[in-house]
Amino acid sequence: MDTLQFLADGFGVAFQWHNILFAFVGVVIGTAVGVLPGIGPMSGVALLIPVTATITSGMPTGAAAASSIILLAGVYYGAMYGGSTTSILLNTPGESSSVVTTLDGYQMARQGRAGAALAISAIGSFCAGIVSLIGLVLLAEPLSNVAIKFGPAEYFSLMLLGLAAVSGLAGKSMTKALIMTVFGLMLGTIGIDAVSGIARFTYDQPILFSGLEFLTIAVGLFALGEVFKTILERDEESGAIAKIHRILPTKQDMKDSAVPIARGSLLGFFIGVLPGAGATLASFFSYMTEKKFSKNPDSFGKGNIAGVAGPESANNAASGGAMIPLLTLGIPGSGTTAILMGALIMYNIQPGPLLFDEHPEVAWGLIASMFIGNLMLLVLNMPLVRLFAKIIQTPKKYLIPIIVAISFFGVYAVQYTTFDLYLLLGCGVLGYLLSKNDYPVAPLVLALVLGPMIENNMRRALTISNGDFSIFVTKPLSLVFIIAAVAWLLVPLLLKLRGRKVIINEEG
């Protein structure tokens, strides 16, 4: 019953008028971010952190954190809805988890069924959002109760597992992903050591004492990296946008997609809970599953509605599922959740098992707002889809410079130093070069966020054991995590050696 009481309190938070507004703004911007090709959920969320930080600056910490995270999470799952729009209408995915949707979605649009495809993906996303939220509500308490018994050794190993999971699946080369992870951890050591108070790698520059700001690096790597890519590599202007005739799907469409939606939601949720396996993988798996279960698999790729309904549900369910390890364990499983975690840490709120005890208004307020947000998205995406489709036509000429200006404003308004602006520009160039050459930047950001925590837990564990490193393998739970982490890195390698094709996750 406790859970229900907490959930009710959460709705109390979510129904405060400003939080309803925040959720609404979040999902609207999220949908726009999903629709605009070039801005993914990661850069969308990163760009908005400073904006929300300034808007909420007058509120008490807990309430400010709750409101910001409501908005930012809204951007995250809103982008999952919006990403399908361009996939269907333009054959260009707005973000990477909608790649699969282009296969059947665009074919449907060419047959004049764009409206039905868009409606089904909105309905599927809504069902999936609700399914993953119910899972979140059911699993949150028990999981955080388990996690609360963890000692520093267990935490250290668990975080290693988180890093291994994201690096093991990201990008084309695991070596590069691991280099990015280690590099991120290194950047995290710059500044004054929290335990001993000794300055590390600061070279007497006062600006470095507090370390490199996570926000500047994330905005630079993701948002500016994308911007520079767009400026340098002029994308081919895509063809005509498919017309939307009728929005409501037919009865037959609904019947055909009910089962795929249910399957996609469950599958996506469980894939989302696994760290490292993000929404892209979920939508891909769902597509394969639907093809396998279908009576005529040949119709896939030619406009089968199941090929839209399943994957679109799966990628939304995955983004809900990914909130579970973030909120209960404090381990973000993907680039976007790492950015959300960084945002919470900016408010001095530590995601993890204690979150539900110490800041129930943040945890449950967020969960409750996701119910409301999903409902808003359904309403927005059904009747207003024509309006959102117009966003595609925003000229890049204006969009690109404005993104630069927004990131400047955001970083400066939070940091008040021009040093961070130069750092921002530097990270932008780095972000462009790295991701162009298949160095995934998501593990870097994740490592930057987790780095200080990993180090502190490591040192606390070693202090307990008097410097004996065996503490990490003699504690049974910690051993399990370490074995899992090693397996996560080795299994894909072994599969590759045996000539199996390994699915890689290109999303962050």
């Binding site: 890049k396 400047f408 308004a413 021009t418 070069l433 180090e455 202090t463």
Partner: protein, 149 residues
């Protein structure tokens, strides 16, 4: 895959690892009450990065460079926008947010695509003044507003 870039970055990361390792030796390792000082973690990271970058360099000898299509990158556009962004950062505190943002946007709009000067001026003006007004006047934030003479 770009072999040249990978070799270059392999060497760069190798150097970073070595520098990190050497520099971490300078961090004092005394921290009372604890047998593990602030030095261990960076030192370990340095060693791992060295190992990984050697592995990366080794990998670049194994794969063949894929036929990459010659892309025409728009360096000129990029350099103008990047340069004006650096100037934007430099002048932000000196001539204030509104003027520097307006100028940056105007230059960047015109660099992206020539023409439609009036629209560019309007959008740049509305954005720079709008953000400043919303943030400083309505929300009470602080931005260096206008040049101080």
């Amino acid at each position: 895959m770009n072999k040249k870039f990978d070799r270059f970055s392999g060497v760069a990361f190798l150097l970073i690892g070595i520098i990190f390792l050497i520099e971490s030796q300078k961090i004092s390792d005394s921290a009372y009450g604890s047998s593990v000082g602030p030095k261990i973690f960076p030192m370990g990271l340095g060693i791992i990065l060295i190992a990984l970058s050697i592995r990366l360099l080794y990998e670049t000898f194994k794969y063949k460079t894929e036929e990459s299509k010659e892309e025409k990158l728009q360096y000129k556009k990029f350099l103008i926008i990047f340069g004006s962004a650096v100037l934007y950062a430099f002048f932000l505190e000196k001539i204030g947010y509104v003027v520097s943002t307006f100028l940056f946007l105007l230059i960047a709009f015109q660099t992206m695509e020539r023409g439609k000067t009036v629209t560019s001026v309007i959008i740049a003006g509305v954005f720079s003044f709008g953000i400043y007004y919303l943030f400083s006047e309505l929300l009470g934030g602080s931005l260096p507003g206008f040049p101080l003479f």
